[in-house]
Amino acid sequence: MIRVQREDFDFGQEVAALSAGNKGVGGVCAFSGLVREMAGETEISAMTLEHYPGMTEKALAEIEAEAQTRWPLEKTLIIHRYGRLEPGDQIVLVAASSAHRDAAFDACRFLIDWLKTEAPFWKLEESEKGASWVEAKDSDTQAQARWLEKDQED
């Protein structure tokens, strides 16, 4: 399931739904990303997440479908917020449930790695210096590249 929303979400409740009533689930892996107070040396007062409505949902659905193809999963979940957030706020939740822990872990990490390079979101950080757009990180591109390399090895 995917959701793109302005509202906060209840981590525990959302993750519980991945195994509720399904006694075939042996493991659930979940990751949540939060707004950090510091960006390098700069103290952040707020962050605004812009996205591309329509394409965002499409991109997330494709990422989820790809994970379902790669691993034997029971359920997957991606929730991504947009709008103005403050340090400590939740930005994103990805989770996967499976009979086995390896699949749950791998799929969960895949979801966040791919989302970071494929989903059309942009962060505008506010600090004393003003507002500035966050630059994409090489490490995120590399994290996705690791999955592509693994594909070639297989």
Binding site: I91, W122, L124, V134, E135, A136
Partner: protein, 83 residues
């Protein structure tokens, strides 16, 4: 053709989306960019360095060589930073 701009690309063009009719010579994302740069100083500034520009056609990531047509929705933005 519907054109959308996001993040600092929009800040520079000064418009979030516009309905435009490029000439028939515009057949790829790349040639569309060249044409857009002539539309305003802001557009020219937004596309100064195309190596930092990413594009989507009909809401799918594409390379700059990708074809575009009059009924397409084309979006320009910097590399994504969600998650």
């Amino acid at each position: 053709m519907k054109i959308l701009y996001f993040s600092w690309v929009r800040d520079k063009t000064g418009v979030s989306n516009e309905e435009l009719t490029p000439p028939v010579s515009v057949t790829t994302v790349e040639s569309l960019i060249d044409w857009l740069k002539e539309q305003s100083a802001g557009h020219a500034q937004a596309f100064t360095d195309v190596s930092v520009i990413r594009a989507a056609v009909n809401q799918e990531h594409v390379k700059l060589q990708h074809p575009v047509g009059p009924d397409d929705e084309v979006a320009f933005f910097p590399p994504v930073t969600g998650g």
